[in-house]
Amino acid sequence: MNTGREPRPYLNPYLAGALLGVVLFLAFFLTGGGLGASGALSHVMAGVAKWLSPGHVDRVAYLADMAGGPRNPWHTSGVYMLVGTALGGLASGLLHRRARLEIRKGPRISNGARLALAFGGGLVMAYGARFARGCTSGQALSGGAVLSVGSWAFMLSVFAGGYAVAWFLRRLWT
């Protein structure tokens, strides 16, 4: 049965959700802000842009806000949280034997198509996340828990958008 190499099963979703809720509460309690990921991606990108072309960062308002002049986009709460998220995921993945080099995808598409769509989906997703001023973590989870009206509207929109196109893209996943 259990050979010791098999990945361990995932947590019951309700238990995982309750744990995530406690983590979210602690994030608010300790830092005054919730969880998030996409804002940190912006800061990472602004930091990279600053290496490549500081002048450009100072000219684009969105970048200047994060990294313009003496501002340091790396020393921000979101970036530390992002690094922590990666480490936490890795630790749990190793502990549960789920950290392994692989490509996860639907049964009917090739690896190349999956990787191209992952890149494209990431691009669309991040664009939408910055458009909405936050991603599923920063808006839906964090804003949902503090009962922000806009965050709830956002959350319903994500599900609406996903279900609206799911049928047309079913070849990707089923």
Binding site: L30, A49, M81, G88, M125, A126, G161, G162, A166
Partner: protein, 447 residues
């Protein structure tokens, strides 16, 4: 709020706090199965409702814990970041994200976990995400009117519904339980089917029915606990101003004992001359007395409306260069308002020392308009006005030497020897009490 202010920590403490929060976040996401794109995408093909279950459970658990902490004074919600509402951008951005979710199979947070557990598709998603934020940064200026439209600031469901936080949380909990019930029904109808053999791994724990499947008794107990907690909050209601004031830290009470929030009229006048500050005067007296005389530029507000959600939100969103003075006839009513605002976390609020009565002693109205009325109770206007002057007496704006709006029926009240139409007031000494403070806010992961 918390035992420490994270924004005041040193670089290392700041970094470690957020690293720890992120670590817990990433570990829980991985344990929930959110590092696996198939588990996430299944949400949109109705075979597995894991995303819905995990997200809604997390939201209601956190919402109940936050509401509990706030209701018992452990956490001041005004110091907690609430995502500002911009409905058009949030709805459009949400729809775009939903599409991206089905194309790419992750959301930004889960893609980090997928990438760090060596899922190549997760790594590509993160790279795509970096490209996406770069593209957004370059293009946002071309549609910023839309992006900034519908700004409603900090706007929460309790304010929208006009209910207490407890009742709103109870409704959210009940709604989530309804969603779970529907989700279970959908799973029974559409899945899990026996999954096709996965070429990359032999027998997959992720493919089949998880070992830790639906455990009815524990789930019912959890649901019961959430409902009971939310119902307790709903019955208890929002904290009263008196409770909030009691929860204030000792240094706030100490400041009051040292009369730190009382600023002299002379200081208000001096601060109005400071171009770096904006001085806002809120007059808490009844309309009749406000019409008789008020400090120039004051806005009348009902004391009960002072800590209404909209007003508190406005005050919290003021820049740190805005100084708000509360004005009453004496000091007691204004101090009451000060306590209410301070216990909601509003910074830079001061009480006008001596109130309007004290103001008129330093900057008297002409004797033909107002005479002192001795023996009135504290909190009543101690000057008898012949008619309503509003803020058209020179006394209302001592910082101005002359103004076309001034009406002076019987000569200047100031010292003799000034040119006609000019009002020079003596420079009254004062103890400096106004110290502009910056409220530091952590914007969560969205900043």
């Amino acid at each position: 709020m918390a035992p420490f202010d994270v924004t005041a920590l040193s670089g290392l403490g700041f970094a470690l706090t957020f690293l720890a929060v992120g670590f817990a976040f990433g570990a829980v996401l991985e344990m929930a199965g959110f590092g696996d794109t198939k588990k996430l995408a299944a949400q949109f093909y109705l075979s597995e409702m894991t995303v819905l279950k995990v997200m809604f459970t997390a939201i209601v658990v956190a919402a109940v814990l936050l509401a509990f902490a706030a209701a018992f004074g452990l956490l001041e919600m005004s110091r907690v970041f609430v995502n500002p509402t911009f409905l058009p951008a949030q709805v459009v951005g949400g729809l775009v994200m939903g599409v991206g979710f089905v194309i790419g199979g992750f959301c930004p947070g889960t893609s980090i976990v997928a990438a760090s557990t060596f899922k190549v598709d997760g790594m590509l998603f993160v790279l795509g995400g970096l490209a996406g934020v770069a593209l957004f940064g370059e293009s946002v200026s071309s549609f910023s009117p839309f992006w900034l439209s519908g700004a409603m600031g900090r706007f929460t469901l309790p304010e929208w519904l006009g209910l207490s936080t407890g009742v709103t949380v109870l409704l959210v909990v009940l709604m989530a339980l309804g969603a779970f019930w529907a989700g279970e029904a959908v799973e029974r109808r559409f899945g899990p089917r026996p999954s096709p053999p996965d070429p990359l791994r032999g027998s997959s724990a992720q493919g089949g029915r998880p070992r830790w499947a639906w455990r009815p008794r524990a789930a019912w107990a959890g649901a019961g606990a959430l409902v009971a907690a939310a119902a307790t909050l709903a019955i208890r209601g929002d904290p009263t101003p008196a409770q909030r004031w009691r929860w204030q830290p000792a240094e706030v009470h100490q400041q009051l004992a040292e009369r730190a929030p009382f600023a002299s009229p002379a200081e208000l006048v001096a601060r109005r001359g400071d171009v770096a500050l904006r001085v806002d005067v809120l007059d808490l007296r009844p309309e009749r007395e406000f019409n008789l005389f008020h400090v120039g530029g004051a806005r009348r507000i009902d004391p009960a409306a002072l800590d209404a959600p909209g007003e508190v939100r406005r005050l919290l969103e003021e820049p740190p260069s805005t100084i708000t003075f509360l004005v009453a006839n004496g000091e007691a009513d204004a101090l009451e308002g000060w306590k209410r605002l301070v216990s909601r976390g509003v910074p830079n609020v001061y009480v006008l020392e001596g109130g309007v009565n004290g103001w008129l002693e330093l900057y008297p109205a002409p004797p033909c308009v107002a005479k002192p009325e001795p023996g009135v109770a504290e909190g009543a206007l101690a000057w008898r006005f012949a008619y309503a002057t509003g803020d058209r007496l020179p006394s209302a704006r001592p910082e101005l030497v002359r103004s076309r709006s001034f009406q002076v029926p019987c000569g200047p009240a100031g010292p003799e020897g000034a040119a006609a139409g000019e009002h020079h007031w003596p420079r009254h000494p004062y103890t400096e009490r106004v110290k502009p403070q910056v409220r530091s806010v952590v914007k969560g992961g969205c900043g």
